[in-house]
Symmetry: C2
Subunit: 394 residues, 2 copies
């Protein structure tokens, strides 16, 4: 058993109950401090899931989630649990019940979510790394907004036992760091992979994803793309979608809603939780989704998976924006938040639908704020992306 | 939901309750039939764990284990559940309650266990592939005895949710096949890895493991070792252990016993199951293990993990026997079975302690029976081994 002591180091990035656990005395992560999104179980503690009603209606966890345990066993020291967007079903980082973690890299702006506390704690230097989760972009987007490294791994590669589910066929355990060597080391512990990574062979540029982000973003990403090209080779422009990516977004949204309802509909119906804006509307919508739309989405998902596997075969990497722009201002009107969501999801759904790993790199800035460049590779090419990230950040 | 129908195709490899589930209409495993060791949950069915008392005292599973579901989703058709040694805590394949599956590759001999039914069903051609589990050798040893391919993956790489535990820090989801292309395809589904595998760079030969097996085995493995050398390069002899491997075996045995008791001691104490020979003695021994021995074993395990990571760094593969010899005759006296265990575990514990992937290849024969050659690689080099296996078997 790892020792647990109360602490208050995470301050504004944390929910009210704080935990601290010592890691193993040695290991590849010895000496590093980390935080976990408050959707991961830690033995003896309640998991909050960003919802006061969830916290109130659940017992303390019997055991620590294997992903967290692997980090402790590798020598890292758990500093605390970080705030999640409510039920992890949001991209903003604004939690109506607990507030919004501070984005030190873009003052006055949202950190992005739903792994808002983990991303902002890493950006602020309070911890060396943090784990979050990424269903529809909840690691990649806040990594971009907060100017740090963020990874969504191959779906199914890292255990989500003891982690609150949102939509299991899309849910992944992701992580954040400022330093690319730490970022890779954490990844190798979570991925259980010490093998040498193959080098990328081709660089593809997602024209349709860039077009959604618009000219200012494209221009701001140019130097970063040049940097990738210098390492990987001359870029080839590609159109990712076989129809507009806004349609691909629906193939993500419908199954996500159905899975979220399958996971939590019983609890929602019984407990009648008071949801904040956005989450409330989505949980009201979820049980009304037409099964025909879901059936078509599932079929298209498999076609998209095959299309992406072909595109990325033999070691290609695909470059695209991590988000359609920089972080919005805090307390932006709902219309702007909805606008962010409807422009971000078509970009973010690519890796989600095709179950692919995607890394977000803090290689660009726009209007004085961080802007993330993302790279996607074939299923299982997680260490290829981590090694490439280290080369690009050095 | 996948359709369930009763069936009786597995006959003697199966326990009394049979299940069959259709896989997805397309996918990389479409058209293939598979069996699962009866320690994996299948929704609506009881999981037997090789013990009538376990079967009697447990409810049907609520959901299908994710590893099984991944195979169904990839298009494979579940033909049934196969016999496990009691509580998966044995290497013989002889279950005192249910009998011993037939080893068609070595008539009159044991199939090896504890994944006895899965290995023997694959060897007999009843299914294209099967999944088992490997804690201390329960896939690698029966693969060797039955003359088929068997894989123990990197520890932690494949989810064991919904699978009966024996010793979680050693338990892995392994698989068997006759055909090396099928074997790799199944692995890529379970490992979620489509990335090109790096090639091995160096061949090491485990002299101390070979010495345990003895001269006849060494001689019988020579042509197989030449075959590996022709692909990988001139072999270098190495001594794996920093002390005799029989000591390493203890660093495996003590934590295994403690973990088995932690998982099942409560049930054993409450239900007082009637265990067969071997399992009975081990469950009586488990609660008496000295914590000092376990503490030392855990410390040594980390040192061994680092030693093996150094030895295998940069793409090396280590060759060793899959077992100390060919399968014993059925109904051998307990002394012979104990002798097999005490010679097999020092060889098998290497990958277990260091959490490494190991493949067993049916590349040799001795006295008319199959003899397995094993290859171990660095943590995460699973696809390297699968690709190499395909090259060696072609």
């Amino acid at each position: 058993m790892n020792e647990i002591v109360a602490n208050d180091k995470l301050g504004a990035f944390c929910r009210h109950t704080h935990v601290e656990m010592k890691g193993a005395p040695e290991g590849p992560l010895a000496g590093l401090g980390f935080a976990v999104k408050d959707i991961y179980d830690v033995a003896g503690q309640k998991t909050g899931f960003g919802s006061p009603d969830w916290l109130r209606t659940h017992e303390p966890a019997a055991r620590t989630a294997p992903a967290v345990q692997a980090l402790l066993d590798a020598g890292a020291h758990l500093v605390g649990k970080t705030l999640s967007d409510e039920m992890a079903w949001s991209l903003t980082g604004e939690n109506a019940h607990y507030g919004t973690p501070v984005n030190v890299s873009a003052p006055g702006r949202i950190p992005g979510g739903s792994s808002s506390g983990s991303a902002s704690a890493v950006a602020a230097g309070v911890v060396d790394f943090a784990i979050g989760s990424d269903t529809g972009g909840s690691v990649r987007l806040p990594a971009g907004f907060c100017g740090i490294l963020g990874m969504r791994p191959t779906h199914g590669r890292i255990s989500l036992e003891g982690v609150c589910a949102l939509a299991p066929s899309f849910d992944t355990c992701g992580w954040f760091a400022r330093d690319a060597a730490v970022f890779e080391r954490v990844g190798r512990v979570l991925l259980r992979d010490d093998a040498p990574a193959p080098a990328p062979t081709r660089l593809l540029i997602a024209q349709d994803a860039l077009a959604i982000a618009g000219d200012a973003v494209v221009k701001a990403l140019e130097p970063a793309l040049d940097k990738v090209a210098a390492l990987v080779g001359r870029p080839a422009p590609v159109t990712v979608g076989d129809e507009p990516l806004s349609r691909w977004m629906d193939y993500f949204r419908f199954p996500q809603g159905v899975e979220a309802w399958a996971c939590h509909g019983g609890w929602v119906t019984r407990v009648k939780p008071e949801f904040g804006p956005g989450i409330k509307e989505r949980f009201a919508w979820a049980p009304t989704i037409d099964p025909k739309d879901v059936g078509r989405a599932k079929m298209r998902r498999e076609e998209i998976t095959r299309r992406m596997a072909e595109l990325l075969g033999g070691g290609a990497v695909l470059a695209l924006p991590s988000a359609p722009g920089i972080a919005l201002l805090r307390n932006s009107p709902p219309r702007d938040l909805d606008g962010l969501r409807s422009r971000a999801l078509p970009i973010l759904c690519i890796a989600g639908l095709a179950r692919l790993p995607q890394v977000s790199l803090p290689l660009a800035r726009l209007d004085g704020c961080p802007l993330g460049l993302s790279l996607i590779a074939a299923r299982g090419s997680d260490t290829l992306l981590l090694t490439l990230a280290r080369a690009l950040m050095s």
